[in-house]
Amino acid sequence: MIRVVLPAHLRTLARVQGEVQLEVRAPLTQRSILDALEAAYPVLQGTIRDHVTHERRAFLRFFACKQDYSLELPDDPLPEEIATGAEPFRIIGAMAGG
């Protein structure tokens, strides 16, 4: 099982508390994680990536293992620590500034 941390607003929308745990088929990538997440919580479709193009929404970021994976390709492999559940895959709302 992998661990996914959602921003507070998406936890409210998905009606979950704390981290989400998901079974994700290998290879572990952004796309496979988001596919599994949206399958488990269909209400999140369109809130993280576009319904059709699957482009990441502009003001969301993907962090893991102290790295920003937001600009990596969606099918690039993610670290083993995420696959083992040692580290969570974090979906972050970008800072609003101000």
Binding site: H9, L13, V43, G46, H51, R57, L60, G93
Partner: protein, 371 residues
């Protein structure tokens, strides 16, 4: 005794305000969807317990919420708004053509007869319809064929913000778009034509009489007289007596004819309300005095209504979707401000009192008169 439910959309959530028919004591429920922008929420005329809400966020995009118990509980429904076919392009700020891109739902208009059918006006301007209670959305693409390539966004975005059904002609509908104008269909959306003849925009358009491009802020109809429409344009308050075939100005003695909101008394088709705003560059009331203006003659002659409203140092705005009326007798009138107040009058506008004072900036106000 009848009751009133006021549905308030704000920059940071939705609020439901309820009262009995006296409209004196109010209960406030919310925030619902706390922290999200709620552009609009509206109840079904066919089933007042069915309410739809547009929930948006710069981070997370569009969500549509639906209630089947009058706003006590909500469930998210479909949020996939995909333009029909190849989306095509519209005019852009630099004169080039720009692809249509969905941004948010500005306005939800439930069908007059079917609680499961609801229309959505979106930015970039287009009209969508759901016939399954908001689960699936389908564009009515013929609207954008009505010279859509000439539409251009104003500074506030190119949003379809007004949807008006003609109760006497079920196939007829009007929509209005910021910086594009009014469009009418007589065949339930299969074809559309611009309905802007008589509008003049000398400060905004190179051709003041252009067929499209006028920045219409809001249109309103009394259901007993559907060929008469009232309009608050960017500048000018207008009226048509022939279902949009021609418009004439009725600004009359208003202190300024700029504004956003306009509505019609529930029982007097010639009684119209507007909230004059100083100018397009100063979005607050003239002289710092918040005044609703009422015409009892269908326009041209207006009287200020100020009892109970702040008459000094008031610099709020009243947005296009933030005024509504109930159908009790006497008619109740309601509006919300960007300062977070929702004001109500239980006597047709003669006197006002705030229902709430300190909400986030109010984006929309709708009223349900409950049996």
């Amino acid at each position: 005794m009848s009751g009133i439910r006021v549905l308030v959309g704000t920059r940071k959530g939705a609020f439901v305000l309820t009262s009995d028919g006296k409209r004196k004591d109010w209960a406030v429920s919310g925030p619902h969807f706390a922290g999200w922008e709620i552009f609009h929420l509206k109840g079904s005329p066919a089933d007042p317990n069915r309410i739809y809400a547009s929930q948006t966020s710069g981070w997370f995009g569009q969500v549509i919420q639906r209630s089947s118990d009058g706003g006590a509980t909500w469930e998210p429904v479909g949020n996939k708004f995909t333009y029909d076919g190849t989306p095509g392009t519209h005019q852009w700020y630099d004169g080039t053509q720009h692809p249509w891109e969905f941004k948010r739902v500005w306005h939800l208009e439930p069908s007059l007869t079917d609680p499961e059918t609801v229309y959505a006006g979106v930015e970039d301007a287009a009209l969508f319809r759901s016939t399954d209670g908001g689960q699936a959305w389908e564009e009515l693409p013929a609207l954008r064929a009505a010279k859509g390539h000439l539409w251009a966004p104003g500074a506030g975005g190119m949003g379809l913000h007004t949807i008006v059904f003609d109760p006497a002609h079920p196939q007829r509908m009007y929509i209005a778009i910021s910086a594009a104008g009014v469009f009418r269909t007589d065949d339930a959306g299969k074809t559309w034509r611009p309905a802007n003849s008589g509008l003049k925009s000398p400060y905004e358009l190179p051709d003041p009489d252009a067929e499209v491009g006028h920045c219409v802020h809001r249109i309103a109809m009394h259901p007993s007289r559907p060929d008469v429409l009232f309009m608050q344009k960017h500048w000018d308050v207008m009226r048509t007596d022939d279902a949009g075939a021609s418009w004439r100005e009725i600004s009359g003695n208003l202190p300024t004819d700029f504004g956003f909101a306009i509505d019609v008394h529930a029982h007097e088709p010639d009684t119209v309300y507007v909230v004059p705003i100083k100018s397009d560059s100063e979005h607050y009331p003239p002289e710092g005095k918040l005044r609703v203006y009422r015409s009892r003659s269908g326009g041209d002659e207006w009287e200020p209504l100020s009892k109970g409203l702040p008459q000094r140092d008031c610099y709020v705005n009243v947005l296009r979707d933030a005024m509504a009326v109930d159908t009790l007798d006497p008619c109740g009138v309601y509006f919300g401000t960007t300062g977070g107040q929702v004001y109500a009058s239980a006597n047709g506008g003669d006197a006002w009192a705030p229902i709430v004072r300190d909400l986030p900036a109010v984006l929309s106000v709708e009223v349900q008169t409950l049996p």
